[in-house]
């Protein structure tokens, strides 16, 4: 299993390095630019990274008939599907950590009015959104193949980036409101996003398994 996950990341190592550069650029803009949008850019990094890397992984599989190749080897069909979902989860977790790190740096510098709670909430929301995006992407890939799915997911990425930006702006505006602060002070509120994300992701994985078989 891990060798399949490692294979995917090894094949996309250049794209991963490229994503690190993007992260640094986004962080730089977030640190320098005092204008609105700096924080949104940082929070959008997760979805951009997951879309870029996942697209490349699935493009490789499609271009070189990777799934066909693996089906000729002694690898269980379920493992072929599961390895992609495990890889996807690692990717989402990694991108969320990087998002959190960048947001924390900005928060420490006292920019964009970000508080630690904002960072935690937005990071977990970003994690949940990205996880759902990744799960749906993989589910559709195993159902319809790369070519059909890739074009729709680019549109979905743009859509999600806009939605995340809007939500973050709204949260920032309301963060002073007592009601929202009270809600966000509850630990379960912060946890609910990733839990929903994980449930959707697991369902996508199970559904992809059934479809692939």
């Amino acid at each position: 299993m891990l060798s399949l996950v490692y294979k995917d990341f090894y094949q996309t190592r250049k794209v991963l390095i490229f994503c690190l550069v993007i992260w640094a650029v986004f962080l730089g803009i977030g640190m320098i630019n005092g204008a609105e949008g700096g924080a949104s850019l940082v929070y959008s990094f997760g979805i951009i990274m997951v879309n870029t890397v996942l697209t490349r992984i699935l493009y490789n599989e499609d271009r070189y008939q990777g799934t066909y190749f693996m089906k000729t080897l002694p690898i269980k069909s379920s493992l072929i599907v599961t390895s992609k979902f495990v890889g996807g989860f690692i990717l989402v977790a990694g991108s969320s950590l990087m998002t959190c790190l960048a947001a924390s740096i900005i928060c420490r510098m006292g920019l964009h009015g970000l508080t630690s709670k904002d960072v935690a909430t937005a990071t977990l929301m970003s994690f949940a959104f990205t996880l759902v995006f990744c799960g749906v992407f993989l589910r559709l890939y195993f159902a319809y193949g790369y070519a059909k799915v890739a074009q729709y997911m680019v549109l979905a990425t743009i859509g999600i980036v806009i939605i995340v930006s809007v939500i973050i702006s709204t949260l920032k505006e309301l963060s002073t409101a007592m009601t929202l602060t009270a809600i966000m002070n509850q630990p379960y509120w912060i946890a609910i996003f990733p839990i929903i994300g994980i449930i959707v992701y697991i369902e996508c994985w199970r559904s992809a398994l059934r479809r692939f078989k």
């Binding site: 066909y68 000729t72 080897l73 002694p74």
Partner: protein
């Protein structure tokens, strides 16, 4: 039996495989022949569990394909596909390292021997290998774990006679211990003349002929006779015939029976000639002599 497939069916919008039966005993070579689009690759993909059948049963090494047996069965199979699906941007070395971790019986020494014998540069990207070297590399990967069953889907297609000869030589070496079996799909039937024990002829998704190669050679003959003699014989003795003025040439698939009937009617010995597998395929698939 190493392979036992019964009544395999697979339906696509423009093609249908119908009731295909294939049996391959241990230590033998089965040649799967047929024109392009006959269903050879579909049959092999079904046997390899790359696609699932709509109907029918497949047993490999006495086991059915299922989640539990999938890994065990494939560890005993070496597969060389028509298109050799590899990650072209990865090196030969990386690819072999990736593949070998899935085979507990991987013989590194044997693999290195094969790679050296084929003169393949392991530092090269797979995509930079020539067509011949790509097939050689695929064959090295397929043989390195000493499989009990080798499944080859048109591996010699598009290769020059020297490489084809080399590949056939290696296949002959592979089965020399009498414990390994080969399923060899091809439309270059002369390759099978050299190594096959059994022949299955597919056309338009159906099995037209399935028998031992020697039986086909002894029973499928091209026979020459006069037109009036031909007209006195039962038509079901022939699968193809052609009449030019007073001479008739026909193909019979039951030569012993034909000889008896012919001798009874004409009192003469028939003029009969052996046929190549190409000619047999043409007679069955197109009804042409």
């Amino acid at each position: 039996m190493i392979i036992e497939a019964r009544k395999l069916c697979k339906k696509y919008p423009n093609f249908e495989l119908r009731d295909v039966d294939i049996s391959l005993p241990e230590g033998y070579v089965l040649g799967l022949i047929g024109p392009n689009g006959a269903g050879k690759t579909t049959t092999i993909k079904l046997l390899m569990d790359i696609i699932g059948p709509d109907a029918g049963e497949i047993e490999i090494f006495g086991m059915h394909w299922n989640e539990e047996n999938e890994e065990t069965i494939k560890q005993r199979i070496g597969y060389v596909g028509e298109e050799q699906p590899f990650y072209d941007d990865m090196s030969v070395k990386w690819t072999s390292n990736f593949v070998k971790q899935f085979y507990p019986n991987w013989d590194e020494e044997f693999y290195s021997d094969l790679i050296n014998r084929f003169e393949i540069d392991e530092a090269k990207r797979v995509g930079d290998l020539s067509k011949g070297n790509r097939v050689r590399f695929a064959l090295a990967l397929a043989l390195a774990h000493r499989p009990h069953l080798l499944i080859l889907d048109e591996p010699t297609s598009g290769l020059d006679p020297i490489i084809r000869h080399e590949i056939l030589k290696i296949l002959a070496e592979t089965i020399s211990d009498g414990r390994r079996s080969i399923l060899f799909s091809t439309h270059i039937t002369e390759d099978l003349d050299k190594i096959a024990d059994y022949i299955v002829l597919l056309n338009d998704g159906q099995v037209l002929l399935s028998d031992e190669k020697d039986t086909i050679a002894s029973q499928t003959k091209k026979v020459y006779m006069r037109k009036d003699e031909f007209e006195r014989l039962p038509l079901d003795l022939f699968i193809a015939h052609n009449t030019i003025s007073n001479e008739c040439v026909a193909v019979t698939t039951s030569f012993d029976e034909f000889r008896q009937v012919y001798e009874n009617i004409t009192g003469n010995e028939p003029r009969a000639f052996g046929m190549t597998l190409d000619e047999v395929m043409l007679a069955y698939a197109k009804g042409e002599v």
